[in-house]
Amino acid sequence: MPIEILMPALSPTMEEGNLAKWVKKEGDSVAPGDVIAEIETDKATMEVEAVDEGTIGKILVQEGSEGVKVNTPIAVLLADGESVADLDKAAAPAPAKLEEEKVEEPAAQEPKPAKAEGGTVPAAPKLEVASDPDIPSGTEMVPTTVREALRDAMAEEMRSDESVFVMGEEVAEYQGAYKITQGLLQEFGAKRVVDTPITEHGFAGVGVGAAFAGLKPIVEFMTFNFAMQAIDQIVNSAAKTLYMAGGQMGAPIVFRGPNGAAARVAAQHSQCYAAWYGHIPGLKVVMPYTAADAKGLLKAAIRDPNPVIFLENEILYGQTFDVPKLDDFVLPIGKARIHKQGTDATIVSFGIGMTYAVKAAEELAGEGIDVEVIDLRTIRPMDLETVIESVRKTNRLVTVEEGFPQSSVGSHIASQVMQRAFDYLDAPIITVAGKDVPMPYAANLEKLALPSVPEVVEAVKAVCYRN
């Protein structure tokens, strides 16, 4: 049967073009790959190649024609033994009709599926997150630094799973730039505790590739500031592959290391990445405050089949908290922890931000304001249910973090609470964050750039109208 040659599209946005020139004429025989015509748009001129073998039976659109719509038949190709007389039998390789599936922005106060042209946008599935395990009464609590808790978590998981290994700069012989991997080389050997060259982009990619192949790498960044060199591999390779592969393969990998400001290390070494990674679907993002959470959540992160960003803090490394002495203490990723119950206002924070929140709550208690403090622990998936439940009780909300204020974790919480619990709010939400400046070096300016306890106290008073 004769085949119609259609006006091709040069790009997905092209709707019409000019037939600039016929390279072949009626009666010419063509083979696949032969150039038969040239078409042009305002952007480019392209050659049209034959896909099938045959003879040009008839040219339907003459050269010089302008505004020829895409998919218009421009010529008819005859196969062996066919003649021009067969032309009325020509069958168009009719393009299949595509149903337009336009996805609309969900309406602001409409958490229900929005109706879009041609279909309904499905609701995002609710993630089921388990509660913290019960700690049996009488369990011994061991004072432990965050540093030791992180090391213990890695050691325990490496003992139980041969496919877990740790790689990064100075993790082995040097025992960790911040001594988080202390003792691991001695216990597990150089095969599983791998010193890398200073090559973040490269070893992040090597880690993701090893994870594709089924290993469970723990990639330590000396600090997350240096992970900006590697962010393409984290976002484009680790986070997106499961989706792009239709679920066939993903990356069971943990990227961990200190994040945020330390002390007096200035702009390039003092940035919080919670909001950056919290933005990315396909990642889990954990940012613990206590040693118990650091241990239980790092063990969960290593076992998790997804890429997990584990944001630690250098200043917290040396702080001591009680850690339950249990054989296998694992906490759920995606569950906030109510650090202190209260009735008058809610403070939500995470990581080192909790140090301000906790001190502010103590101060406010002295002034008769009973604050509920929520430690988010996980930035993504975010436990907004716990936050909203608290806001329904206290009707007032302050968020606290060290990161920059624009598009911060706090601004996301504020927008969600506004959309989902507007009627419960008795005051505008206040987001306390780092100042909108690169971190200065001078001690006095650095102090000003970070949030402070008085700022948090003031914010809580403001939402309680107690100023």
Binding site: L6, P8, A9, L10, P12, P32, G33, K43, A44, T45, V48, E49, V51, V70, N71, P95, A96, L98, E99, E101, V103, G119, V121, P122, A124, P125, F165, P197, T199, H201, G202, F203, A204, G205, V206, V208, G209, A210, F212, A213, L215, D232, Q233, N236, S237, T241, L242, Y243, M244, A245, G246, G247, Q248, M249, G250, P281, K284, P305, N306, P381
Partner: protein, 356 residues
């Protein structure tokens, strides 16, 4: 230029410092390009069929793109078929393959089904990624094909990681990591070379030098245009291969894979090849002359070379070749029909496969 620079350094007359011991050892007998493999009838027939399948598939993909059935970017492999087909003939079960976004040929060579690849190109539910990946992002765990990556050069670190896993597991699998002359200028390529050599990882770096990084000729983008030398600073040996001759590719592939399997670490194969089409479907390729393209097509075409050999040796006559051609056309035609009739993914797939 390089010569002049080294002269300048020499005038400083500082005594050359001896490199400290350690690091990676340079191979004592660096491998040389082997002669083309001695193909028998079955080898040539198989190579002919595989290369033809890729070419016909790509031509059909180009046609469907022109009809608006394939969206986004679409990078065709036409002209480069001998590279993947020859390399595939050199590996065994368990070896991994990873490449960039000009990936349709790699997938077909790895044994992935034409229907699944074409349906992914049209964004349909039975595509390899359920329609959610598209031309540049396709995977098959079953066939050890690890993508299909859209960021130029990213697959080089990832492929090095696949080799890291082989080494860790102490198996004898080899990672074939493909990238182009354009990607060869990305920084992470050299970060990966360093680690692969330091840790003796079993990875074959296959640089498909098709002479153009999108529209920029290698001479305008690369200070060192001999890509087989790109590993010298890392003590990684390299071989230049006629990437238009499937027998030359097979022989180099055999050597490289054996090099890795025997624990000698990484090796580079520079495949000198050529793409007939533009960088992507929307590239009119004005940066090169028609004569240049025509000369490659008429004098070096990888499929035509095998065809002439089959006929000259009496291994196949015109009828036998026509029968292969028809079989290939039927597979491609069927995949195109399937890719148009297969439904788009169910809307419920919007939120699946984000997290496990």
């Amino acid at each position: 230029m390089a010569r002049a620079a080294s002269k300048t350094n020499a005038t400083k007359s500082r005594p050359a410092r001896k490199s400290p011991a350690g690091g990676a050892q340079a191979p004592k007998n660096p491998p040389k390009a082997p002669p083309p493999a001695d193909f028998k009838k079955d080898d040539d027939l198989s190579a002919y069929r595989e290369m033809l399948l890729i070419r016909r598939f790509e031509e059909k993909a180009g046609q469907l793109y022109g009809m608006g059935l394939i969206g986004g970017f679409c990078h065709l492999y036409i002209g480069q078929e001998a590279v993947v087909v020859g390399m595939q003939m050199a590996i065994k079960e368990g070896d991994q393959v990873i490449t960039g976004y000009r990936d349709h040929g790699h997938m077909l060579a790895a044994g992935m089904k034409a229907r699944g690849v074409m349906a992914e190109l049209t964004g349909r539910r039975n595509g390899y990624s359920k329609g959610k990946g598209g031309s540049m992002h396709m995977f098959s765990k079953e066939k050890n094909f690890y993508g299909g990556h859209g960021i130029v050069g990213a697959q080089v670190s990832l492929g090095t990681g696949l080799a890291f896993a082989n080494r860790y597991r102490e198996n004898d699998s080899v990672s074939l990591t493909y990238f182009g002359d354009g990607a060869a200028n990305q920084g992470q390529v050299y970060e990966s070379f360093n680690m692969a050599s330091l840790w003796k990882l079993p990875v074959v770096y296959i640089i498909e030098n098709n002479r153009y990084a999108m529209g920029t000729a290698v001479t305008r983008s690369s200070a060192e245009t001999d890509f087989s030398h790109r590993g010298l600073s890392f003590k990684i040996p390299g071989i230049q291969v006629d990437g238009m001759d499937v027998r030359a590719v097979k022989a180099a592939g055999d050597l490289a894979v054996e090099w890795c399997r025997s624990g000698k670490g990484p090796i580079i194969l520079e495949m000198q090849t050529y793409r007939y089409r533009g960088h992507s479907m929307s590239d009119p390729a004005k940066y090169r002359s028609k004569d240049e393209v025509q000369k490659m097509r008429s004098e070096h075409d990888p499929i035509e070379q095998v065809k002439q050999r089959l006929l000259a040796n009496g291994w196949a006559d015109e009828d036998a070749l026509k029968a292969i051609d028809k079989e290939v056309r039927d597979i491609v035609g069927d995949s195109a029909d399937f890719a148009q009739s297969d439904p788009e993914p169910d809307v419920s797939e919007l939120y699946t496969d984000i997290l496990l």
